[in-house]
Subunit: 114 residues, 2 copies
DNA sequence: TTGCAATATATAAAAAACTTATATATAATG
DNA sequence: CATTATATATAAGTTTTTTATATATTGCAA
């Protein structure tokens, strides 16, 4: 299980990327899928995921469609065009971040700025 | 320049790792070195770095030694044994995190849990 | 048939981390 | 003389996330 500190800041990126790859999803399914894909390492909390989805909808990054399955409400979230652009941007940022942080915590041997 | 959202949560790991690799450093030097190693991509702010150093000292992860250079105070921070254990733990977590998040944003082809 | 686990969403209160702005002080450079 | 670099500090505010709680249905097992 990943320290939740590290998850901060990448939650939004994970959610957006999943919606891009999998198509419209509801909040509960997003937490399930993330857990699956990460082999149980990443667990999103509902207190984080639902407010985030509401916020992204407010910002016009997502739109919703409701459905009733077995007398239970499901709210599917789908990317808007604006949301699609945001995913691409966020993924780029995340990859840059991973590269940069690896340079810091594991500098290539032979390179020294001292 | 990396989105500051992503930096949240890994700031502590960066600082601890640098102290492990480079030996005792002062706050200003930590920000400089991080910028250097990341090729200018990661810029730590003083409002984040100094409170963090104080906190880690409070928690007995770091000890300090002051020095006067050119009439300016420098406060060197060094890892305690407890701090050394924390670095190892944090680095392990960070690597696990990077692996996990890559599984989520870029799942290996052919693998599906659906 | 009762209770628990899974499904599904929601929100309030609190904590934590970080940004922004500000303050102070010296030295070097143009 | 003004700006940039060095060096630390902290208060106020924002944002994000955790924790806790609430609601409701379905399915399974004891």
């Amino acid at each position: 299980m990943i320290s939740s500190d590290l998850l901060k800041g990448s939650l939004k990126t994970i959610v957006l990327k999943l919606l891009k790859e999998e198509g419209p999803m509801h909040g509960y399914a997003i937490t399930r899928k993330t857990e699956e894909l990460s082999g149980g390492k990443i667990k999103l909390t509902y207190g984080a995921i639902y407010p985030l989805l509401h916020k992204l909808k407010n910002e016009k990054m997502l739109v919703t469609a409701s459905e009733i399955i077995n007398n239970r409400v499901r709210i599917y979230y789908a990317l808007t065009p604006k949301g699609h652009s945001l995913v691409d941007e966020k993924i780029k940022e995340l990859k840059e971040f991973i590269d940069s942080i690896q340079l810091v915590i594991d500098p290539p041997k032979g390179i020294s700025y001292a």
